[in-house]
Symmetry: C2
Subunit: 383 residues, 2 copies
C-alpha cells in the first residue's frame, strides 16, 4: 500500500482540528472552533490512496479511523461480478478523491472502502481458492439466517462519521438491484492506546485494549496477512466478521482483578499479567511463588495466543457499537482462514472471555487485491 501523499493536506489538517473541537469541548480547545473546517477549502487529497497493491482499510490508516459501516449483501442471479466490482472500484476512487457529487460536499478525508467477496462467488471461480470455504458454526452463536455468510462485503471507514453513510448510500445506489443487503453494522473506536512505534489500539466496551497483538511489521504482514498467491488473489487477504453482543452488566460485576484474569492483561495499561509492557508477549510459563500461572489457564491472552493455537498472526481491526445492543464487530484479516477458525475452536473449549459474548452475525470474505487504472477491482479474479 502506497500512500498517495504522506503529508497531511491543509484540508485534512483542518478536518482534524474540527474533530478536536467536537471531542474536546474543554475551554482550552474552544477557540479552535473559530477556524472554518469545511467551507471553501481546496479539493482534498485522500489520506490513504484507494489504489495500489493492497486495498485500503486493512493496514492503513494506522490507527484505524473512528467510524465504520460494514454492509453485507448478496448478489442477484445473473449479475456480472466482474462488471459490478469494476463499477464499485470506479465509484470508490471517485468518492475517496472527493470527486463524486453523492458525497454531498462532505470531505472524504481519510475515507477508505474495502471490498470482499464471499465464499459462494469464490467457489464459482475455483473451489480450491482461499476464501472458498464458509465459516463453520461455533458455540455461543445466535445468528439469524440472513446474518450468516454473504456474497459481498463493503467496509467503509472514515474519521468523519458523516462521510460513512453518504458513501454507503452512493455505493449501494451504484450497485442498484444487482445486490440485496443482508445486514449492516456501524461501529466506532474511541481513543487509542499506543502499543509500539506506529501502532496503537482502541479499547473495547469491556474497557480493555483490543487488537494489541498482530502482524504489525511489513515482514509479519507478508508472512501472515497478505495472500502471496495464487496469482488472481495475490495481494488480497481473508476477512472474518463476527458481530458479538457483549454482556456488559455481568462483566461489570466482576472485580477489576477478575476482569483482568479473563483477559490475561491489565485493564488500565494492556500489560500482560506476566509483566513487561503492553507490547510484551505474555509469558505463558510465568508462575506465582505458589505455583499458579500469572496468565491464567483460561485467560483470553493464553487461549487465543497464536503460538498456543499453532497458527499465524491475525490483524484485528474491530469496532464497538451500541445499536441494537452493546457489542463488538470483530474484524480480522489473515492469509490462512485456519488462523481464525483454529483460534476460535480453541477458545470454544475454555476461553474465559467467550461466555460474555453472543455472536449474532458471522461471515468470511476474500478481500480482493488492490486495484488501479489498469486492473479494475476484482478483474484479476473474475473474468
Amino acid at each position: 500500500m502506497r500512500q498517495a501523499d504522506s503529508r497531511p493536506s491543509r484540508r485534512a489538517f483542518l478536518g482534524t482540528t474540527g474533530a478536536v473541537t467536537a471531542v474536546g469541548l474543554s475551554a482550552g480547545c474552544q477557540s479552535r472552533s473559530d477556524r472554518p473546517d469545511r467551507s471553501e477549502a481546496p479539493a482534498p487529497t485522500p489520506s490513504v490512496s484507494p489504489t495500489g497493491r493492497y486495498q485500503a482499510g486493512i493496514t492503513l490508516p494506522q490507527p484505524a479511523q473512528r467510524s465504520l459501516l460494514a454492509v453485507v449483501a448478496d448478489l442477484a442471479d445473473g449479475v456480472s461480478v466482474r462488471r459490478l466490482l469494476a463499477e464499485l472500484g470506479e465509484a470508490i476512487r471517485a468518492l475517496t478523491t472527493g470527486t463524486d457529487a453523492r458525497l454531498m460536499g462532505l470531505e472524504p478525508g481519510d475515507l477508505t472502502v474495502t471490498v470482499g467477496v464471499g465464499p459462494r462467488l469464490v467457489r464459482r471461480v475455483d473451489p480450491a481458492l482461499p476464501g472458498a470455504k464458509e465459516l463453520p458454526r461455533f458455540s455461543r452463536e445466535r445468528i439469524a439466517p440472513r446474518a450468516r455468510g454473504g456474497d459481498l462485503l463493503i467496509q467503509i471507514c472514515a474519521g468523519d462519521a458523516l462521510v460513512v453513510p453518504a458513501v454507503a448510500a452512493a455505493l449501494l445506489e451504484r450497485a442498484g438491484d444487482r445486490i440485496r443487503e443482508r445486514w449492516r453494522q456501524s461501529g466506532s473506536r474511541g481513543a487509542n492506546v499506543p502499543v509500539e512505534r506506529g501502532v496503537s489500539a482502541p479499547r473495547n466496551l469491556f474497557g480493555f485494549v483490543d487488537g494489541i497483538v498482530g502482524p504489525h511489521t511489513k515482514a509479519e504482514q507478508q508472512r501472515h496477512l497478505w495472500l502471496a498467491g495464487p496469482a488472481p488473489v495475490a495481494g488480497g487477504t481473508l476477512a472474518v466478521l463476527r458481530r458479538m453482543e457483549l454482556d456488559l452488566p455481568r462483566f461489570a460485576r466482576l472485580s477489576v482483578a477478575e476482569q483482568e484474569a479473563v483477559f490475561g492483561r491489565r485493564r488500565a495499561t494492556g500489560v500482560p499479567l506476566s509483566g513487561g509492557t503492553i507490547a510484551s508477549g505474555p509469558d505463558l510459563g510465568a508462575k506465582t511463588p505458589d505455583g499458579r500461572y500469572l496468565v491464567p489457564a483460561d485467560a483470553h491472552a493464553r487461549r487465543a495466543h497464536s503460538a498456543v493455537v499453532g497458527v499465524g498472526l491475525m490483524l484485528r481491526r474491530s469496532y464497538s457499537f451500541d445499536q441494537p445492543a452493546p457489542g463488538l464487530l470483530f474484524i480480522s484479516f489473515q492469509n490462512d482462514i485456519r488462523t481464525f477458525t483454529n483460534t476460535l475452536t480453541r477458545m470454544d473449549a475454555s476461553d474465559a472471555l467467550l461466555p460474555y459474548t453472543t455472536t449474532t452475525a458471522s461471515a468470511t470474505f476474500l478481500i480482493l487485491p488492490g486495484f488501479d487504472a489498469q486492473h479494475p477491482l476484482g478483474s484479476r479474479l473474475f473474468r
Copy 2:
C-alpha cells in the same frame, strides 16, 4: 449550569490528543500516538457538571459531544418514580465523575446524561403541567407502536464513543426490571462549522449545516428554552425526539442548486440564499430582479422559520446515524411544545425537505430540572 472547572484537566487534554490520532492518522499527527492517553492518569474532572440548575447535555457542552445514545423506556407498574429517578441521578453523578466501577476504567471525559419523563408520568402528577401532552401524528410517519411515546428518556452523550454504551449498561442495570426498553438510537456528529461566537453546528447526512438557528444567548435561553415554572418544573425544558430515515440517493440526484433550494441555504457554507453570513437570518422578503424569492417559498429555512410559524426558538441538538438505515435523530429542546408542533404542522403543508424524510420514532419528554445533593433528580416533581 455551572462548569465544575473551566480549565481542561490534563487527562481531558490527553484524551483529546488521542482523538486527534484516531481521526487524523495523517503523518503529521502520527507522533502524538506516542503519548499515553488513558493509563495512570489522575482521577478525571467532569467537563460538564452533572448537577446544577439545569441538566447537562442540553446547552452544554457546546459544541455537543461526538457520540450519543438515546434510550426510551417504559416504567413497570407500581414503580416509585421518585425513587427510580433519585437512583438514576446518583448513578449519573458517580458515572460522570468516574467513580462508578461500571465505567470499566474508561474516562467519562465530557460525558453527560440527560433524563426526561414522558407525558403519562407527567399527567399522573398534573395534566396541566408542561410535558403532559403526547405529540400528535404528522405526515410521513412510519412508526411502530413501540417507537411512539415512552415514559423515560435517557440521553447519553460523550466524546468517547466507548463511554456511551458502558454508561447505558450501567444505568439500565441500575433501573433493572423497573423499566422496559422501547427503542434506542445511537448517533454521531461530524466536524462542526462555526456559526457565531461560541456556537458551532455539525452537518447532517444531506451535507447541510444543521441547527444553525436557536436560542444561543443566555437571554434567548431564558425566554425560549428553560421552563420558568410552575415551580416543580422550573429549570426543566421539553424535548422532542424524532428519528427520521433520510432518502440520501434521491436527494443526491438533485443538483447542488436544487439541494440548496430545498434548504434555503448554501450547502458549503450554511449562508442563507438571501446572502450574508451563516449567522445571518434569512431575508424572507429578498427577491431576484425578476421577482422570485431568493429563499424559495417552500424552502425549509422559510417554512420552519420561527417568525413565519409564529413561535419561539428551538434548540436543536440532532445526531446522524446509519444503523439500521441512514438518518437523523432530530432532538429539540423548547419551553413550549407548540414551538415544535406548530413548526412541523407548517412544514407538513409544503416544506420541500419533508419528502426526503420518513419518521420512524417519535416522542416528547419533560426534561427534569437540574439536581444536586439537596434535590435528587426528579424530586421536585415526584413526591
